[in-house]
Symmetry: C2
Subunit: 237 residues, 2 copies
Amino acid sequence: MDNHVLSQRPALHAEQVLIKAMLAGSFPPGSVLPGERSLAAQLGVTRPTLREVLQRLERDGWITIRHGKATVVNDFWRDGGLNVLSALVRYGEQLPDGFIPNLLEVRLALAPAYTRAAVTRSAAVVAELLNRSDDLDDVPEAFAAFDWQLHRTLTICSGNPIYTLILNGFAGFYEQMARLYFAQPEARASSRSFYAALRGAALSGDAGEAERVARQVLAESIALWQSGAARYHWEER
Amino acid sequence: MDNHVLSQRPALHAEQVLIKAMLAGSFPPGSVLPGERSLAAQLGVTRPTLREVLQRLERDGWITIRHGKATVVNDFWRDGGLNVLSALVRYGEQLPDGFIPNLLEVRLALAPAYTRAAVTRSAAVVAELLNRSDDLDDVPEAFAAFDWQLHRTLTICSGNPIYTLILNGFAGFYEQMARLYFAQPEARASSRSFYAALRGAALSGDAGEAERVARQVLAESIALWQSGAARYHWEER
DNA sequence: AGTCTTAACTGGTCTGACCAGTTAGCAGGA
DNA sequence: TCCTGCTAACTGGTCAGACCAGTTAAGACT
């Protein structure tokens, strides 16, 4: 157990150590955690502090706490909540195989639906936001930030708040992942023309067309990423 | 502030009171919470207990805590996580307008995708599970339980764990909502034939057909619900 | 051998003190 | 007068150790 004295806050340190241990398999699913008193001592924090951390971890589905029984470690891929993703990105040694394609696949399933709804309900707001896409610098950071803002706006305008709640599960690492994707010039070009097409659809109030162009660019993004990743590995040799 | 002495655990009581207050608008978005010492006293718990609750609430996006500053209440529809839904169902006085249609819409966006993936990757497992659908009693409870298990299995078999993490956000109230939906005999009939069709697609390994029948029955479910036959009100439980 | 008590786990809560950021207000200087 | 800068009083963060409350298995009793 790593209990180096760090400059971090004790609670943050404890959470980080615990999550890393679970990600690394030091606490396999189904195993039980040491008692709170013992675990707190190992982590170099006191029990109240540890408990705050454990409560948060339970809320995210990492562990299951039961009064009188030992705390058990869950299989976070089976029982975890959406928040495990941000922990995975923040604390994981490396991203799981296919992580980005999986993200893109889920986005492909969801975004066309909320894009259509957003254009149906609030075409003006969507079009207004897309006006700014003309001024985007041709750098990954600008595209990543704009893309996040776009999806966030679309889910909000969709009128179905559940889309927003789901998207919030990706807050904090969406931009980070998007910067990798938009490192490819073709990706930026693809999205730039998508923004223009979507604005056109919004201006003419054509929700069906908005859904179509969204689905098309998102499907294209998966192919783009996989060709880019392949090229990257190829050049690595 | 409701601080009745309840038979519940202090932490659970405090969480329930706080969430109900935020749902009812007693703590509007943007407002600040009383200090922990004062709030703990009002709720009839001690500060460490209150803090455990606040940490959980922050993790779900209800509030934002910053060292040295007052804790602020978020707009949970804008900044919350998926977990707010289960709190909404559990503690809300009544479900928001369009809550069930919104759920069905999100399911319509997601389920066809993971159904296709599941049949592509693990047709046998899917088909095996669907065999049991023949024996389903024609009662809402049986259909609700089976439908949940089916979707859970499909997301797991899809090979994209992110679908599972999203679905987990609906655990605990999916069945409850589904019982309302399946109170309609036509809904049970519709799903029963869907199960059969999906099994057929799985047995023949036709992922495209699986996606199609899934999309069809899910779209149909929205129409069925909105036809109004199932407008049970919120009082049971 | 079976049943019941009990002790020793586990997590849950309380107490009150002190540490650590933040900020408004007041004192002192330019 | 105005600005600077210290200070005090907030806020949340952590610590310490005690005690309460479920769970369970070992041991005592029948």
